[in-house]
Each structure stands twice: as C-alpha cells, then as structure tokens.
C-alpha cells in the first residue's frame, strides 16, 4: 500500500525565519513521482514541484528548496527567509504506476507571523 505522511499539522514561525515541512512516503513501487502543492486561503491548489524516483538531486527555486532522500523515504520542503505570503496549507503527494490516483498527505498549515 502507498501512503504519504505529513506529521506536522501546523507550524507557526515569525517572518524571515527558515522553515522545513516534512513529507515521508511509503511505496513498494520502484518508479514513482512526488509532488508538492500549496493551498493559500483562496482555496486553489497550486503546483510547486515534481520529482521522480530516479532523480535525487535537490532542487532550489528562489527561497524554496526541496530535499529528496530515498534512503529515508522523505521529500522535505524548506522555505528560506519566510514571508507572510507563504502562509498556506502545503500538501505532499505521491503518484505510483499501480494507481492512477495521487496519494495525498494530510497537509501542513504554515502560519507566518509578521
């Protein structure tokens, strides 16, 4: 069975702090993809990044970075110098060959205080 765990239900930090959102996944498939989405208060789910199981290279996009480690089945997301606009619910998701669906984590609510 496949599963995505986001153990942090809610994180609150002060603006300009760095923050890391954890994502741990379970699958026996050797080919899979991992995703991060952002859901601001407006409700729309915004795609942030996609990673495949054969590419463990870390990704940096501006203040956002992602650390993919197959050894620990983790795909963590770090925001550097957080801003109030980063406040949102962040979801991690898994796509596997044997299941057309996305398997979603429960989400982490991130609150950035000014």
């Amino acid at each position: 069975a496949q599963k995505v765990t986001q153990a942090q239900t809610e994180i609150s930090v002060v603006e300009k702090e760095d923050v890391t959102l954890d994502c741990v996944y379970e699958t026996r498939d050797t080919t899979y993809y991992l995703f991060w989405y952002k859901q601001p208060p407006s409700g729309e789910l915004v795609f942030l990044i996609r990673r495949n199981s054969f590419d463990e290279q870390n990704e940096i996009s501006g203040r956002y970075s992602w650390n993919f480690q197959k050894s620990t089945s983790s795909f963590n997301f770090t925001i550097t110098a957080s801003q109030v606009v980063d406040s949102a619910v962040y979801f991690c998701a898994l796509s596997v060959q044997s299941n057309y669906q996305l398997i979603w984590g429960a989400g982490t609510k991130l609150i950035i205080k000014p």
């Binding site: 080919t31 899979y32 993809y33 995703f35 989405y37 407006s42 409700g43 729309e44 789910l45 915004v46 795609f47 996609r50 495949n52 979801f91 796509s95 596997v96 060959q97 057309y100 669906q101 996305l102 979603w104 984590g105 429960a106 989400g107």
Partner: protein, 115 residues
C-alpha cells in the same frame, strides 16, 4: 499557461436540489478529476475520467455522478443534495504525455453549502 476553471466559487443550495458543478480545462488533457476537501479528512477523490464518456469511481462516489461529453469539460452532479455534501469541491486535469509523472492542475474550487 495552464487553465482550469470551475463554474462557481461559492454555491448555496437546498436539501434535495439537483446540483451541477462544471469544470473546464483548456490544455487538451485526457484525464480529469473531481475531489472534495473537508477539514480533517484531506482530499478525497470522487470520480475520475480518463477520456470522453469514460469514468471511474474514486474513493467516495456515493451520492454523486459525473458527465464528460466533451474532452475539455467534466461535470459533477449531485442528484439530490444533502447537508453532508457541504464541502469544498476541487476539479483537476492531467495530460498523459509524461505518464504517471504528469502533474495534476487544479481549478479554484467551489465552496458548496447545502442548507
């Protein structure tokens, strides 16, 4: 730019009414999805369509039906709305070119309140 639109952002209906939620994508995607999102329950898949006139049940299809007569449009139908269908409804679409790695793109969501 990727574009998925939903017919309404907010909707208020009465118990027993027939409700139509429409989703349109302009990316020529084969796959389209309807989810509902509830506090504490996360995102749950209601129905999925992999082609015109084709559909598959997701995790929670009871009380819902869908229609896909054209590739760009996927409708979710609540035959007789009930209060427990009050929720946020999200539509998504996905192409096939990248296989299982293709990204799902979401619409803005519809917040439905059934009174």
């Amino acid at each position: 730019d990727v574009k998925v639109t939903q017919s309404s952002r907010y909707l208020v209906k009465r118990t027993g009414e027939k409700v139509f939620l429409e989703c349109v994508q302009d990316m020529d995607h084969e796959n389209m999805f309807w989810y509902r999102q509830d506090p504490g329950l996360g995102l749950r898949l209601i129905y999925f369509s992999y082609d015109v006139k084709m559909k598959e049940k997701g995790d929670i299809p009871e009380g819902y039906s869908v229609s896909r007569e054209k590739k760009e449009r996927f409708s979710l139908i609540l035959e007789s709305a009930s209060t427990n269908q009050t929720s946020m409804y999200l539509c998504a679409s996905r192409g096939l070119a990248g296989g299982l790695g293709e990204t799902q793109y979401f619409g803005p969501g519809t917040r439905l309140l059934v009174l």
